[in-house]
């Protein structure tokens, strides 16, 4: 058991998989000597060499395109995209090539590629450094999409993603990189594509993931002071979605609020709302509400705290759902 930051846990997971499998390669911008701009790959090049921790030429399409070729050759690349807003140059390679290759080859070639993307806002960054593009990828068949909210999940979910024979888009909530938590490398982890109830409650179900889990838990603490018990679920896997715990919870509470940083229009919240009303229509006491980013470009950082969902906006939604 160690007390690690999320960044440290991710680093430990990469190191663990590189030690276990010589076919695992790390590739991205500044991942070598610098250890990545967030230091997630710190020390890996020193220990595993420039052949396995590869400072890529500056092109995201190149990183993903090369990963496809490496996968065809039998490698297991772990790609780092430096910031969320820089993944779009690689979009074609991800959705047209990575996601489809296994299918196009009738299962004869696998794409065990992990794409790590630091995402989300709240760090006072310049434009294109605070985005939440998860829905684009969750929409694409052939990809798996996951996100972690704490150091233990970061460690286990990254290990599981690298072991996965399908491509996994791994979203890392960059504003939570430095929060510490216990990581037990001997514990049996949850399967990768499962949601987890992180706080039990009876009145309203709150589904969140990634950076918003901590915010939702803060909201639950505040709500408890007002006498409302929120059940908070960390979704963890965005594709596929582990809906059963959500439905089970809504069956109990009758009320659901979905929280994410991404703009609400056609976001994960829309999908969850649609599925929950299909599966738990007669349990719902109120419309499913979404709390998320507005349908605007991510704002200039001095007002990002206004734009991002926070405890008050979650509580506001909780209050609204309780009025039905």
């Amino acid at each position: 058991m160690s007390n690690l930051s999320m960044a440290g846990a991710l680093n430990a997971a990469l190191r663990n998989r590189m030690e276990a499998d010589p076919k695992v390669l790390v590739m991205g911008l500044d991942v070598g000597k610098l250890g990545g701009v967030f230091r997630i790959t710190d020390g890996l090049q020193k220990d595993f060499g420039e052949d396995r921790v590869i400072d890529a030429p500056l092109g995201e399409s190149g990183i993903l395109g090369a990963a496809v070729g490496l996968a065809i050759r039998g490698y297991r690349p772990v790609c780092e995209i430096q910031f969320d807003g820089f993944v779009y140059p690689a979009f074609d390679q991800i959705v047209s090539q990575v996601a489809k290759f296994h299918n196009r080859s009738l299962g004869q070639v696998r794409m065990p590629i992990t794409v790590r993307i630091p995402y989300g806002g709240g760090i006072g960054a310049v434009e294109h450094h605070s985005e939440s593009p998860e829905a684009y990828f969750a929409h694409t068949a052939g990809l798996k999409v996951v996100t972690c909210s704490n150091p233990s999940d970061a460690y286990w979910m990254l290990r599981q993603s690298i072991d996965c024979d399908d491509p996994v888009i791994f979203f890392e909530p960059k504003r939570r990189y430095w929060a510490k938590g216990e990581v037990d490398p001997d514990a049996a982890p949850l399967p990768l594509h499962t949601a987890r109830v992180v706080r039990a409650g009876t009145d309203v179900t709150v589904v969140a993931y990634g950076p918003m889990v901590a915010t939702a838990l803060d909201a639950a603490n505040a709500a408890a002071e007002d006498g409302h018990e929120l059940e908070v679920i960390d979704l963890r896997s965005l594709s596929p979605i582990d809906l059963a715990p959500v439905v089970e919870s809504v069956t109990k509470t009758g009320r659901l609020v979905v929280v994410h940083e991404a703009s609400v229009n056609l976001g994960m919240g829309a999908e969850i709302a649609a599925r929950v009303q299909e599966k738990a229509f007669y349990s719902l006491e109120a419309p499913v509400l979404r709390v998320g980013g507005f349908d605007t470009p991510y704002p200039a950082s001095r007002i990002e705290e206004e734009w991002l969902p926070d405890v008050d906006r979650i509580l506001d939604a909780v209050d609204r759902t309780l009025t039905y």
Binding site: P57, G59, G62, A66, G69, R73, Y75, D92, Q93, P240
Partner: protein, 372 residues
């Protein structure tokens, strides 16, 4: 002093067999080749042309949804394909039927994609011939990644004939404008990777002429990226063979990437859906017809190698037999099961997809007699 000086004249291209069928020597690319090997190349070219014509015919008969003809580019493809060793890997576009032929990929497998019964479906590692790639230029980056793997596997510069491996990345004049192709050049150069970029400049990207893509000869671009580039007569199978062989040898030995511009011409429409009479003149077609890749080899074989009509008759018979075989095989390719799209989305089907598949199966079964 002016930044814009004179544009250098168009360079010569490497040619070993003239359009008239006269064998010429090139100081840098000597080619020693037997008459039997020449006959074998003639056979390849003829069979590929026949197969390609059958593709067009099958589309016209409604058996294929689309066909992208390689008519006129047979030499560029067969020369490159025959220059490869077994362990070398090819990354084609969607028109490399001649290369597929050289890699022993069954033409019927290719037809399946154009018939609409598969999205590719062959195993790239079985014949070292990647799946066709339709998004322009994307495959050049796959070639680069594969070449990175080759280098990491220690399969470059060992001097072992069966071990050292090169990668051949195909693209066209149109794709040369794509970002992916330019990124691939950069990656290959920075990593000194064993990859040969093989550009079939067929002069047209659907309706857009070469001038829309470039104002320098395409092979000149290689210099800017830091590796050698060369232009060859893409309708001369001997030049294509000799130069590609040399480039692959250099890649295998660890000398890094190179680019070959095979100067050729797309004699047919872009695909069977295209109408080139809207954008190009038939004069141009006539000029290129005189440079036909098969006719020149036939002329050489007749005049210089004393090859008689028996041989050509045999090849023609074999061509017809091939056409009959693939026509029948194509027509009997079964439509995929409506539930098959679910099956290979993931290595292990997700629960939500299994649920969707089961729901659709139930729906299909709800029609009386619709499914057995």
């Amino acid at each position: 002093m002016s930044l814009h000086g004179d544009v250098p004249p168009e360079p010569d291209l490497v040619q070993l067999l003239t359009p008239e069928g006269v064998r010429v020597e090139h100081p840098d690319f000597p080619l020693s080749i037997t008459d039997d090997e020449l006959k074998s190349l003639y056979r390849d070219l003829t069979l590929v042309r026949r197969f390609d014509a059958e593709g067009t015919a099958l589309q016209r008969q409604g058996e294929l949804g689309l066909w992208a003809s390689c008519l006129g580019q047979e030499a560029a493809q067969v020369g490159a394909g025959r220059a490869m060793r077994t362990q070398d890997m090819a990354f084609p576009t969607y028109r490399e039927h001649g290369v597929a032929w050289c890699r022993d990929v069954d033409p019927v497998t290719l037809l399946g994609m154009f018939r609409g019964v598969s999205l590719g479906g062959w195993n790239p590692n079985e014949n070292n011939f990647n799946l066709y790639t339709i998004v322009l230029g994307a495959q050049t980056l796959h070639a680069v990644g594969y070449a990175m793997g080759v280098a990491r596997d220690g399969a470059v510069g060992t001097g072992e004939l069966d071990r050292d491996t090169a990668v051949l990345a195909f693209f066209g004049d149109g794709a040369s404008s794509q970002g992916d192709v330019n990124e691939a050049f950069i990656w290959a150069a920075a990593g000194n990777l064993p990859v040969v970029f093989y550009c079939q400049n067929n002069q047209w990207a659907i309706s857009e002429p070469l001038e829309r893509q470039t104002r320098v000869p395409l092979f000149h671009r290689a210099a800017g990226f830091g590796f050698p580039g060369i232009r060859i007569d893409g309708n001369d199978v001997l030049a294509c063979l000799a130069v590609t062989r040399a480039a692959l040898d250099e890649a295998r030995s660890g000398q890094g990437p190179s680019m070959i511009e095979a100067y050729t011409y797309r004699m047919a429409a872009h695909t069977t859906s295209d109408d080139p009479t809207r954008y190009r003149l038939s004069d141009e077609l006539e000029t290129w017809r005189l440079r036909d890749p098969i006719e020149r080899l036939r002329a050489y074989l007749v005049r210089e190698a004393g090859v008689g009509t028996d041989f050509f008759g045999e090849v023609d018979e074999e061509s017809e037999a091939l056409a009959v075989r693939i026509r029948e095989a194509c027509r009997s390719l079964p439509d995929p099961d409506p539930l098959s799209p679910f099956d290979q989305v993931y290595v292990e089907m997700t629960g939500e997809l299994a649920e969707q598949k089961a729901g659709y199966a139930e729906y299909l079964d709800s029609f009386e007699g619709a499914r057995s």
